[in-house]
Symmetry: C2
């Protein structure tokens, strides 16, 4: 059920032009050993090297840049215990906009520090989603700030989709693009952006609500937040569900030990710091192989690199 | 006391042409936060992204490519408990040359696996330098293989120096190039390569023999192998000592906790996996600032990324 709010490829193209000078055109990296293991040419789109350390900077910059001057003066607000919060704070700081982030008390000190480093104003709330939303409504009511949702939003989806455009620009044809699915903003944007390549999703078994939703034909609730891939614990967004359903996105599930093994292997071969969430598609590719017979060139989006290294 | 074996800039230029198609032209990376911390423009030459995961691939490829066809048929050999061994094995495998690596029994399983992955033949020895050399002489005597030393060798020095040429090629003028000093091959090569930039060395206090050697005016023995920066535990090479003495290389010393803090900071901001040895120059730059008054653009060589992540 597409509505007037449903983004299209044109919105992704417009987002690309809007954010071009603000984001990093992240590199593609490869390792002959990883390609050998998978028996195909595998490359990695390094969004862990994106500003603020994740692809979330794309959506956040598109959303803020699309605001009127008047809206920018009012400031922006969101709720987030992860990369969307620090990305929004980072973009807002760059553009001279005030950002308020509602953060659950259970969120790590590491994530709070990232938001504070970018000048974001933190408002505490308890750990339930209801309380998060109530606290956000209070902040928005008080300050008249514009709510920038973490994933279920046309401007956010279009911004995340710009990563797909960059992948399709690389010289050689790409057969498949693999992304992790959490709230579904990146997957929905990539589906809009990529016309020639097959898009493939991957989820932890412990956070397989997008897979369940597509099988059941209706949106399923998020599972208990147990997976180590903490960026993927959120529920699938409504708009994203409809876009992924229309595309009939294949989603592969992997277990926790597979995710951890893939993360170590990727870090060791690519020499890149990546979050557990970023390792989920590679774990799935190792387990299941390419989605289409004959696919030889796969690009995996490494979504983020904000890992707490204090315990190193 | 330069001898006919002392390499010159021409040897570095010849090495560049010889190895160009075999090595990775590694990228320069930066982080606004790291530059802010140092109060200057700091960039990082990512040799952790070099083939086999360290700059050692440059020297090893120059040394093997300079051999005659007859010598290549005889194979190559070295002793190493670290990156030189795996780099030599990797280059040899690529060129169809047999590589035998004498490895002390105390070396980690992680390092042995890296050599084996590249098809290197491992010969065990005990942990003393005398025994290493005796075992290597035995291997060379038996197989007639060509010994490729880890750092104290003109072809190795010239190969490592190519990293300095790449740094000087970047558009903006670079004021200083900072490198860690272990055996001194990288430092000596960089000194030969860089004509406009000041080269600056850095060492752990616990492995400060190069600093002591330059102060004393004669080569001092290696210190007990206690520093966490395990790539820098070796003694300074003779040829390297003379080249660094002639250049009057400034060498800054840093403590163990400073190295570890710098490693975490670099990994966290750059999203790169780097060895402790690679963090030593940045630790020194944070501690002492630039070597010359007015230096505003510093490039630090991140020497390697071969970190054992099993414990992650």
């Amino acid at each position: 059920m597409p509505t007037s709010a449903t983004p299209t490829k044109n919105d992704v193209l417009a987002a690309r032009d809007r954010i071009r000078q603000y984001i990093t055109q992240t590199p593609l990296m490869a390792s002959s050993r990883l390609s050998e293991i998978c028996g195909m040419d595998v490359k990695f789109k390094c969004e862990n090297l994106q500003k603020s350390g994740s692809f979330k900077y794309r959506g956040a910059s598109n959303a803020i840049l699309a605001l009127s001057d008047d809206e920018k003066k009012r400031g922006v607000a969101t709720h987030s215990s992860g990369n969307h919060g620090s990305a929004l704070a980072a973009v807002a700081q760059r553009l001279g906009v005030t950002a308020t982030i509602v953060v659950p008390r259970g969120a790590s000190a590491f994530k709070r520090r990232a938001i504070e480093r970018y000048g974001g104003i933190i408002v505490d709330c308890s750990d339930t989603l209801d309380e998060r939303e109530a606290k956000l409504a209070e902040v928005v009511g008080r300050s008249d700030a514009v709510f920038i949702p973490p994933y279920d939003d046309p401007a956010i989806i279009a911004g995340q989709g710009t990563v797909g455009l960059e992948i399709e620009q690389y010289g050689d044809a790409v057969d498949e693009v693999w992304v992790p699915v959490g709230g579904g903003g990146l997957a929905a944007g990539t589906v809009l952006a990529c016309e020639s390549a097959q898009v493939v999703g991957a989820e932890p078994e412990l956070a397989g609500d997008a897979h369940q939703s597509l099988v059941a034909g209706e949106r399923q609730p998020a599972m208990p937040p147990l997976t180590c891939a903490d960026g993927l614990r959120t529920a699938l967004g409504k708009l994203n569900f409809h876009l992924l359903q229309e595309y009939a996105l294949p989603i592969n599930l992997v277990g926790e030990s597979e995710i951890i093994a893939a993360q170590k292997l990727l870090m060791s071969c690519l020499k890149l710091v990546i979050e557990s969430s970023s390792a989920v598609p590679f774990a799935a590719l190792m387990k299941y192989g390419a989605a289409r017979t004959g696919s030889e060139r796969v690009v995996i989006v490494l979504t983020g690199g904000n890992v707490n290294l204090d315990g190193l």
